[in-house]
């Protein structure tokens, strides 16, 4: 198993380094022949984001923008992009991770003068689009953290921990999904499914109630909208360990969309194709559950209702459960949180609701 772990990590690394070298060489040749080099960057404008029914996610269309070093209004951002590729190359080679904020500060050592972090963040997305690789593959991570808990053996690939193994059920607070975990090899598990849950509070309850053992599951806290590292982990658990993924969210339109993003990505990341779990299943809390389980509710706000109407225009919400639940939300104009089950006792959600929903997921 150790061998596989090593080879998988080094393959990802090799892919990135190859890509970076390819671009670097092309630009080197241009300069060497007295030509101004340029990058072709797939356009991320609204008009170029289309839904791919086959991939079941948003992807970028064919239009691309040329960023030329000859054009003086683009020269600065061209150089920033070059620097970032250079920086990512070093990170990947040295297997060091950095945060978005680190990138912003590191740039200052090279007089690349980013105006602010949002400018450097944008350049990072540009590089993702050029390489069609997520920034995590280049060892650049967001600050946000989410957690995982369950019987999962991993083997680290980060420097200093190579080959070291860990079981993710030893610490009840869960394990932060950070760079070392994202890049670790998934060695083995006894679990039969992954439960992604929107809220940290419920995650703790699930651990306490030993949902991992009772339902042979790995529990993932998405911390609201799932960060990309979390989505990458979910995808890997599904793809590499063949675990089905079910998703539990609050019973509102935002919860429904958290589930959708895990399943089919976000428009923001339409340039990336390794972040979705198309087979993931949203099992609740549905709008229809509110009546079925007689849950305490809160009235929907105007912005909740507007969000419903917006999502109805999204092709992914044009069929099945997604379409139906939006309609119910709009009909009852009320919403319920996961904690609403506490009305019937703190363990009601794990004792009664969860088993029914797992049963349901299996039948789908």
């Amino acid at each position: 198993m150790a061998k596989t772990a090593k080879s998988r990590a080094s393959k990802t690394q090799r892919d990135i380094l190859d890509l970076l070298r390819k671009h670097g060489s092309r630009i080197y040749d241009d300069l060497d022949h007295g030509r101004f080099p340029n990058f072709e960057i797939p356009s991320r404008s609204v008009g170029n984001i289309v839904y791919d029914t086959k991939l079941r996610q948003y992807v970028l269309g064919k239009s691309a923008a040329l960023r030329s070093s000859k054009n003086t209004s683009q020269l600065r951002s061209f150089t920033q992009l070059m620097w970032l590729a250079f920086f990512a190359n070093r990170l990947t080679q040295e297997k060091k991770s950095s945060t978005l904020r680190d990138v912003y500060y590191s740039s200052q050592a090279f007089s690349i003068d980013f105006d602010d972090q949002s400018e450097s963040d944008n350049i990072i997305v540009d590089l993702e689009a050029v390489l069609a690789k997520p920034r995590e593959a280049m060892h650049i991570f967001p600050e946000e953290r989410s957690s995982v808990f369950g019987d999962l053996d991993i083997e680290y690939t980060v420097p200093g921990y190579e080959g070291k193994r860990m079981n993710l059920s030893n610490h009840p607070d869960g394990y932060a999904i950070g760079p070392s975990l994202t890049s670790a090899e998934l060695v083995g598990t006894s679990a039969e499914m992954v439960i992604a849950i929107e809220k940290g509070g419920l995650f703790t309850r699930f651990v306490e109630e030993q949902v991992d053992k009772k339902f042979k599951s790995i529990i993932v806290d998405t911390g609201g909208q799932a960060p990309r590292s979390t989505r990458t982990l979910l995808k890997r658990l599904h793809d590499e360990l063949s675990l089905p993924v079910i998703i539990l969210t609050d019973g509102d339109v935002y919860g429904e969309h958290i589930a959708m993003v895990i399943k089919s990505g976000s428009a923001n990341a339409a340039h990336l194709r390794e972040l979705t779990v198309p087979d993931a299943k949203w099992v609740g809390v549905w709008a229809s559950d509110i009546e079925r389980y007689d849950l305490p509710t809160i009235p929907m706000t105007d912005s909740d209702i507007k969000r419903c109407h917006d999502l109805q225009k999204d092709p992914r919400y044009s069929h099945g459960i997604w379409k139906k639940e939006l309609e119910v939300f709009l009909k009852i104009k009320r919403k319920a949180e996961l904690e609403a089950f506490s009305k019937y006792g703190l363990t009601n959600i794990t004792d009664r609701y969860l088993p029914q929903k797992i049963e349901l997921a299996r039948s789908l």
Binding site: L20, R21, G24, I27, L31, F36, T72, F78, T79
Partner: protein, 608 residues
């Protein structure tokens, strides 16, 4: 008429009572105006004789401890032709004596201003004017003169002759002034005057002991303007009346020689040529007198004076209808009237003189652009006989003549030879020296005319470089005089403000200087202060066309400059970023040596 008394006053007295009209309203204004009048007189005198002017202006406080307004001694020295010794008392001791009645471009008009300044000095300090004049550079005549205001006569307090070191004129007056307030105006005036007179060296020593000196930039000067007759469109009824009087006066003016010849012809000695004996002999010998002797003979008889005194008499008019002759008696210092006697033999002769020239020759001799045929055609147009004697026109006919001169459309355009623009090259040199700009362009428009007065507009535009002011700064000149005040209502400012400068790539606070120079035999000033020019459509048009021409030149300079700046900026950006790109891609590509991009940057640098 019966109950009221009308008193005649002398011109001196008139100006004394109305001195603010001539710019002597308060100590500040008066000091400034006095400086202008003397400096301009000096420059005019040099211009007319083609002498490169050296003008030295000195203002000293009589008592340095006193507070403003206080007494100042204002002195202007020049290297001009000087004033003939016999003309000095009249030139500096009477009002309205001047040599500028002809029609040509000059800074001052009629030489009035300098005597006004002298008059002002005298009434505020009761001190005489000091004049030192040398016409040959060997001897100089030094005068101290006071002005008798009531009689308009000079009172010579002192006259000495001594050795001179150089030719020229110095005039020094003592006057009340306020330099603390007038100083900046006077310094501006000297500065701008030297800009528009780049062939002059002008220095100014101010009361604080500071010297402002502007050396000449050019060693050659524009040709002096010629004196020419007026254009028919440029005269009114009053001017025609004066021209008729002047034509008659020419006929009745007697030189010194004429009186002597008459005395000899009458067989007398000069010493005993008294009125009585002369009158008696004239009556006896009239028929035998030569034509040249008849005029002094007739005049001496009518004016009841000796022929010796005739040079002192100035004939104003011979009125045949009233049988009177009006004249100025220089010895008495008063205007007088004498009766003509129809019975005397001289009467038909004076009647003939009074009738004056025929219309046709009057027009051809006294107007520009009028030949015998034009005069004949005009006479037909105006319904006069060409041979009609000009002195016999009554008032209604004079008005008809004047109106017809205005209305007749066949006269040629005014002759600009009486104008003396500075010229493009001197203007360019002057502006280049004064502003050291990055860009400079000058233009002189062709001569044009308004209401019969020829004019020429020349102007220059300067941008950037040593220009410290922001926004458009206009220097206005008229007949080589800087116009410093009342900018707001001036036609030049109107034209500048009407321009859409954005179209010429001039943005808000551009360091821009515009100098305009209007030359004309008569500048249409809006006010007596001579500080702003009225917006005559013809002048406005020439200014506008000239300015548009210059603005187009500026515009193409600005776009060249813009392109050069953009290319420089681009080259700088490449020089900053491409080496970084090179460094990054070298490491990315896993290469050791950096790519050869140097020639690429060089091409961009030079290619922009």
């Amino acid at each position: 008429m019966a109950a009221e008394r009308f008193n005649q006053i002398s011109p001196s007295e008139f100006f004394y009572r109305n001195r603010d009209l001539a710019g002597f309203s308060n100590p500040t204004r008066s000091l400034y105006t006095a400086v202008r009048e003397f400096v301009e007189n000096s420059l005019d005198a040099c211009d007319q004789r083609g002498i490169l002017p050296n003008v030295r202006l000195v203002i000293q406080a009589e008592d340095p401890e006193a507070k403003d307004p206080r007494t100042y001694i204002l002195t202007v020295h020049d290297n001009g032709p000087g004033v003939d010794v016999e003309h000095v008392p009249l030139a500096f001791g009477t009002v309205l004596y001047g040599s500028k009645f002809g029609l040509k471009q000059a800074r001052g008009m009629f030489g009035l201003g300098a005597t006004m300044a002298i008059l002002y000095g005298q009434i505020t300090t009761n001190k005489p004017v000091h004049v030192s004049s040398s016409t040959d550079g060997k001897t100089k005549d030094v005068f101290e003169i006071l002005l008798d205001i009531q009689k308009n006569k000079p009172v010579i307090l002192k006259h000495t002759t001594s050795k001179a070191r150089r030719r020229g004129l110095s005039v020094s007056i003592t006057l009340e002034g306020d330099y603390s307030k007038a100083g900046s105006k006077i310094r501006d005036y000297v500065y701008q005057t030297s800009l528009i007179t780049p062939y002059a060296t002008i220095s100014f020593e101010d009361p604080k002991g500071e010297t402002f000196r502007y050396d000449r930039i050019l060693k050659s000067m524009p040709p002096p303007p010629t004196v020419i007759n007026p254009h028919p469109h440029g005269v009114d009824v009053e001017t025609i009346r004066r021209m008729i009087l002047e034509s008659r006066r020419d006929l009745v003016s007697t030189g010194n020689g004429a009186a002597d010849r008459l005395i000899r012809a009458l067989g007398l000695k000069s010493s005993d040529a008294g009125y009585d004996v002369v009158a008696r002999r004239v009556a006896q010998r009239w028929k035998r007198l030569s034509p040249s002797a008849r005029l002094p003979a007739a005049l001496a008889t009518v004016l009841k004076c000796s022929p010796r005194d005739l040079p002192e008499m100035t004939i104003h008019d011979i009125d045949v209808a009233d049988d009177t002759i009006s004249y100025h008696d220089g010895m008495a210092g008063a205007s007088k009237t004498a009766q003509l006697d129809r019975g005397q033999p001289y009467y038909p002769y004076l009647e003939e003189v009074a009738a004056g020239e025929p219309l046709q020759s009057f027009l051809t001799a006294r107007f520009q652009r009028v030949g015998p045929r034009t005069a004949e055609r005009f006479a037909k147009f105006a319904e006069f006989k060409p041979e009609r004697r000009i002195g016999t026109l009554d008032n209604r006919e004079l008005v008809r003549l004047s109106d017809s001169l205005q209305a007749y459309g066949e006269f040629l355009a005014p002759d600009p030879s009486c104008l003396a623009p500075l010229g493009q090259e001197p203007l360019r040199r002057g502006m280049a020296k004064f502003f050291e700009p990055d860009f400079l362009s000058v233009v002189m428009r062709n001569a044009s005319a308004y209401s019969g007065f020829p004019f020429v507009v020349e102007m220059g535009i300067a941008y950037g470089g040593g220009i410290q002011t922001r926004g458009i700064k206009a220097y206005r000149f008229a007949n080589r005089i800087p116009l410093l005040y009342d900018e707001g209502s001036d036609v030049v400012l109107k034209v500048i403000n009407d321009m859409d400068w954005n179209r010429y790539k001039v943005k808000g606070e551009a360091p821009l200087v515009i100098a305009t120079h209007i030359c004309s035999t008569r500048i249409p000033y809006k006010t007596v202060g001579k500080e702003n020019v009225a917006d005559r459509p013809e002048i406005e048009r020439e200014l506008r066309l000239g300015l548009q021409f210059l603005a187009r030149k500026l515009s193409s300079y600005m776009s060249r400059r813009g392109k050069a700046e953009a290319a420089k900026k681009r080259a700088n950006l490449y020089a900053k970023y491409i080496p970084l790109v090179s460094q990054f891609c070298t490491e990315l590509a896993g290469r050791k040596a950096e790519p050869k991009y140097a020639t690429m940057l060089k091409a961009e640098d030079g290619g922009g």
